[in-house]
Every structure is written in structure tokens, then in C-alpha cells.
């Protein structure tokens, strides 16, 4: 089992402390963006478990994001669930949906799996718009939910502890929890098995790994992560429409995963920062061609960091500290 070095522990602690202190210095709008980064980081982490660690390419994780979001909204609006219970509920629902989708996906490989998941990404918005379900889903116009209230209100250093701050901290808490779970999942035997299935499926099978069980289980877990992100997104935005779960959402999650760096847990945060802020940067460079600038920036990112931001940082670290190269501690 890999363990965190003392430096890494300090770094993680400082990062979490800084994130907790963030509301003190930022207005509500920036806080909303920070929540978005955390939410996409969870979703990308889920995708990374499936694609980065296990090598199953999904171009349809936006669908699980949508399932999580709509589960949370429907449970709140029609079953009277308090907002915080929708997170575990959405997690459970998405786990089951992911497992069910992962079973037929076992038969599909590479590009065929990409098509199947892509079809899922296209089908979900269509189903959400479909007339027969619009009683619940609200059809194309979508539905809104109540804003989760803060459990208590007070002022701290002149900053009101309001619902926005609470929502951000709630999201942050779940993010930290899920990142910890993911890291625990991949650092030991299960993580090694997942990577073995990705790199050497036949050898893994020969060593007695039940690839089918691992592959469908990780599909479910991955959907769980992304579904929780979707539910958090529903709570943060408080409004859902089928078009917010357009196939481009799935593609952006994929972009975030690759640009952040595949096959590492913390890289999801970098990927999320990129997909939340890069469109704004592109828009500020050129008002008329934001899409083209975005595309060019993406190509440049890949050009200079083919293994993602995490890969580039890793190389930088090894370059500066050649003595500390990993010696295969496990």
C-alpha cells in the first residue's frame, strides 16, 4: 500500500485548510465557481476511476451526472427528502444504474464502448424531454428545486455565513470525503487489479483476477462518483433542464480528465479548474471566436503536456529531485 509522505500530508492539509478559509475572502459568485470546480472534480474523478485506471473509455458520463441530478431533484420535489439525504440516495441510484450499464458494456471494447456510452449521453436528454415523463422531469423547460438553507447563520470576520457559504462547505466536505475514498480504493490491491486489467487483461485473468466482476463494479463506482457530482450540482444550481446535460457535458468531462492527467486521483482537480475556467479565458481573448480559441488552447495544452497537468507536474518533480525517484514501494 502506498502511503502519503510527510510532505504530501502537509500539502493536502494546507489545501483543505485554504479551501475551508476561501469563503472569508471571496464573494458569493466566486464561491459558486469554486463549488463548480469541486463538483466537476468529483465527476472527473469518477470518470478517471473507470477510464484512467481501468481503461474502459466512456464518452457518456454526462448521463450519470444527469441521473444523479434528477434523482436529487425528484426526491426533494416529490418525495420530500431533505436536501442532504439526496446525496447518498443519488449515490445508490447511480451505483445501480452504473452496474446495470456496466454488464452489457463488458462485451464491448474500446471504440464500441465509446459508441455505447456516447449513445447513452445522447439518449438521456432525449428521455428527459420525452412527453410521457414530463410530469416528473418537467420536460424541456426543466424543473427547479429549493435552495438548501444554512443550518445556522452568523457573521465571521465581517463575512455572513449564509446559504451560499454553507452550500460551498457542504460540497467541499463531500469532495474531501470522496477523494479520500477514491485514493483508498486505488492505492491498494483493488487499484493494482484495476490497472492490471487495463494494461494486461489476459495476464490479469491468468493470475486469477475475475475481470468481469472488477470491470462492472468499477463502472458502478464510477457512476456513483459522477452521480453524486450531479446531485451536488442540482443543489448548487437549483435548476435542471435536459439541455444542461447535452452530450458536450460528457465530452468536457473527458477533456477535464485527459487535461488533468489520467490515472491519478488529485489530477481531477486540475482538470476541473480547466473545464470551468478555460471557456471564460477563451471568451475574454476573443468575443467572436470563443469556440475556436478554446479548441486551440486545448490543442496547445495537449501539445505541451501530453500526459496532462498532473503528468507535467510529476515530470517537474522528478527533474528537480532525481534522488527521490519512486523505488516501487508497495
Amino acid at each position: 500500500m502506498k502511503k502519503l509522505s510527510a510532505n504530501q500530508k502537509i500539502l493536502a492539509g494546507v489545501a483543505i485548510a485554504a479551501a475551508v478559509a476561501l469563503p472569508l475572502v471571496t464573494p458569493d459568485f466566486r464561491l459558486f465557481q469554486a463549488s463548480q470546480v469541486l463538483i466537476y472534480a468529483i465527476a472527473i474523478l469518477g470518470l478517471n476511476l473507470l477510464t484512467g485506471y481501468n481503461g474502459q473509455l466512456s464518452v457518456g458520463h454526462g448521463a450519470f451526472f444527469a441521473v444523479g441530478a434528477y434523482s436529487a431533484a425528484l426526491l426533494m420535489n416529490f418525495a420530500g427528502f431533505p436536501y442532504w439525504t439526496t446525496i447518498p440516495a443519488a449515490a445508490l441510484i447511480c451505483l445501480v444504474v452504473g452496474l446495470l450499464f456496466g454488464l452489457p458494456a463488458l462485451k464491448l471494447d474500446g471504440h464500441y464502448l465509446a459508441l455505447a456510452t456516447f449513445a447513452l449521453a445522447l439518449a438521456v436528454p432525449q428521455l428527459l424531454k420525452y412527453k410521457a415523463f414530463s410530469k416528473w422531469t418537467g420536460g424541456a423547460p426543466g424543473i427547479s428545486i429549493d435552495k438548501p438553507p444554512a443550518p445556522f447563520e452568523f457573521d465571521i470576520f465581517g463575512r455572513a455565513f449564509n446559504a451560499d457559504v454553507w452550500l460551498y462547505l457542504f460540497t467541499l466536505g463531500i469532495t474531501v470525503l470522496l477523494f479520500f475514498c477514491a485514493w483508498n480504493l486505488v492505492r491498494g490491491r483493488i487499484g493494482r487489479t484495476l490497472v492490471a486489467i487495463r494494461d494486461q487483461p489476459m495476464a490479469a485473468q491468468a493470475m486469477g483476477v475475475n475481470t468481469a466482476i472488477y470491470k462492472s463494479l468499477i463502472f458502478g463506482v464510477s457512476a456513483l462518483f459522477t452521480g453524486v457530482a450531479g446531485a451536488l450540482n442540482a443543489l448548487t444550481v437549483q435548476y435542471l433542464a435536459p439541455d444542461s446535460f447535452h452530450m458536450f457535458l460528457s465530452v468536457f468531462l473527458l477533456v477535464g480528465m485527459v487535461v488533468g492527467g489520467m490515472g491519478a486521483v488529485p489530477s481531477a482537480l486540475f482538470g476541473a479548474v480547466v473545464i470551468v475556467f478555460l471557456p471564460n479565458i477563451a471568451g475574454s481573448i476573443s468575443k467572436s471566436l470563443p469556440g475556436a480559441i478554446y479548441g486551440v488552447l486545448l490543442i496547445l495544452l495537449v501539445y505541451f503536456m501530453p500526459k496532462g497537468i498532473w503528468g507535467a507536474l510529476d515530470r517537474l518533480r522528478q527533474f528537480r529531485l532525481p534522488r527521490h525517484r519512486d523505488t516501487g514501494s508497495s
Partner: protein
């Protein structure tokens, strides 16, 4: 019965388009093992180029030929400048580059020519097929697609350049030892597939109107077509396109209406793939231990 026949025939016509774009994908896939997601947007851009050439006064066929030539050159250029340096980058990173290209072309089409749909001319508009079952342009699409497929077949089968390209795709190492310039063969493959995409764009534009999103839906069907036919088989892609086109029309007419036609068509395709994972004409993948 007439409804059925006309739905099947128009399915064949739109299927021919899917087949052409699918064919363009297969041509890049066989040499690089990657799906070019920007294929559709490149084709849309080419179609806009053709439209511009026609508005400045070039006759249809001259604009057609010029566009195909320009697209070919652009395809070669993209491969040489953008993708060749990334040869050794991880596969997913290259996919992101394709997506970047998708955004660039999509956004550029919109920024240069606007988002309003244009009416695109068809050379056979004045003709009539004498029946209500199939329109003149649909027949024209099928003929052009079949002609193009035949030409490509002859090129790959009977010319030494075609042979070199096949060799470079099948076994790059041995091919380069035999003196084939593998890098350039890949670039030629990109050029050819951009040209094929341009033809598909010019064919489909009179049907769906020319606008920046014209090819987004087509691309997905083309992807499905290529997979159903077998991702490494060019004729398979074409047949797959026709199957997908006909299926799409019949599902839309008889089963669920237009709301869920895309979803149902895709579910059917995936069901086929689960039972026949290599597609109808694809070669079986043999893994080596």
C-alpha cells in the same frame, strides 16, 4: 406499401451520406487506430468553402472539384503540422486534439459564415425521377456515393500508391523497411478522408441546409455506421451506413416517431454489436499473448 418503399429509399440516400462520412473515418482508423471526431466539422467547413466558391460565380462542378482539392490539401496539412508531432503522445490526448479541432472548425464556420442556414444548390434540382418514391437529389446522392466508393476501391486495389498506403496502414514497420514513407502515407490518408468528407458534405447540404451544426448528427450516425460495418472495412462502412439510414427511417416512421428515433436507432445498433462485436464485415481481432 408506397410509404414503406419511399422510407427505405430515402433511408438508403441518407445512409449513403452516413456511409461516406463513415468511410472517411475508417480510412483514418485503419492507419492510426483512432476515430477522428472532427471529421464532420471538417466536412461542414469544406461545404462552406464550396458554397463560397459557387457564390463568387464558379459553376457547380468546378466548385466541387476545387473544394475536394482544397480539402485534400487541408487534410494533409493538418496531419503533417498537428498530428505528426503528437505521434507518441498517449492515445486519449490525441482524442482531445480531435475534439479541439472539432471546436475550431465548428466555431470558425459559425464566425465566418454566420449561424443562419443557407440553401445549398443541387445540380439535379431541375430533373424529376418520374416517381414519388425517391427524389432526384436522393438518387444523385446514391450514384455519387457508389461512384466514389468504386474509384476508391480501384485506387487502393490497382495503383502502387494505393498499395503503399495499405501497406503503411497494415504494417508500418515492414512498410518503412521496404521504402514506403509511412508518415506521408498517413498524411495522404488524412487528405483522402477530408476529400471524401467534403463530397459527403456537398451531397448532404441540399437536404439539411448548410449551417455550422449540419454534420453533428450525421457524424454520430457515421460513427455507428462504421462500427456496424466493422471499423476496419471500407465497404463495410458504406453498407453499415445504409443499414443505419434505413433503420433510422423505419424506426422513426413505424415505432416511436421522431422524438426518440435517435435513441432507439442507437440502442438497436448497440444490441447488434453486443452479439457481433466486430461488426458485420470487420476482421476478428486476435490478441497475442
Amino acid at each position: 406499401m408506397d410509404l414503406f418503399v419511399s422510407q427505405v429509399l430515402s433511408g438508403v440516400a441518407s445512409g449513403a451520406i452516413y456511409g461516406c462520412v463513415g468511410l472517411a473515418m475508417v480510412m483514418i482508423f485503419t492507419s492510426t487506430e483512432k476515430i477522428n471526431f472532427a471529421q464532420g466539422e471538417m466536412a461542414t467547413f469544406s461545404t462552406y468553402v464550396a458554397w463560397t466558391l459557387m457564390t463568387v460565380g464558379l459553376p457547380y462542378w468546378a466548385a466541387f472539384a476545387a473544394t475536394v482539392a482544397i480539402s485534400f490539401a487541408a487534410g494533409v496539412l493538418i496531419q503533417r503540422t498537428l498530428l505528426a508531432p503528437l505521434r507518441d503522445a498517449p492515445e486519449m490526448s490525441q482524442v482531445i486534439v480531435f475534439f479541439g479541432l472539432f471546436l475550431v472548425f465548428n466555431s470558425a464556420s459559425g464566425a465566418i459564415w454566420g449561424y443562419l442556414p443557407f440553401d445549398f444548390p443541387s445540380p439535379v434540382k431541375a430533373f424529376s425521377t418520374g416517381t414519388t418514391l425517391i427524389g432526384a437529389h436522393q438518387l444523385f446522392i446514391i450514384l455519387v456515393a457508389v461512384l466514389m466508393l468504386t474509384l476508391l476501391f480501384l485506387f487502393f486495389r490497382y495503383t502502387s500508391l494505393g498499395l503503399c498506403m495499405r501497406a503503411a496502414a497494415q504494417n508500418p514497420v515492414s512498410a518503412s523497411l521496404m521504402g514506403v514513407r509511412v508518415g506521408w502515407m498517413l498524411a495522404l490518408g488524412w487528405g483522402l478522408s477530408a476529400a471524401v468528407g467534403a463530397v459527403a458534405g456537398i451531397m448532404v447540404a441540399p437536404v439539411v441546409f448548410l449551417e455550422p451544426q449540419m454534420m453533428v448528427g450525421v457524424l454520430l450516425y457515421a460513427f455507428a455506421a462504421a462500427l456496424v460495418g466493422g471499423i476496419d472495412s471500407p465497404p463495410g462502412a458504406f453498407v453499415g451506413g445504409i443499414i443505419v439510414g434505413v433503420l433510422e427511417n423505419l424506426v422513426g416512421t413505424y415505432l416511436v416517431g421522431t422524438d426518440l428515433k435517435l435513441t432507439v436507432a442507437l440502442v438497436l445498433i448497440i444490441a447488434v454489436l453486443i452479439f457481433k462485436p466486430t461488426g458485420l464485415f470487420g476482421s476478428r481481432r486476435v490478441a497475442r499473448v
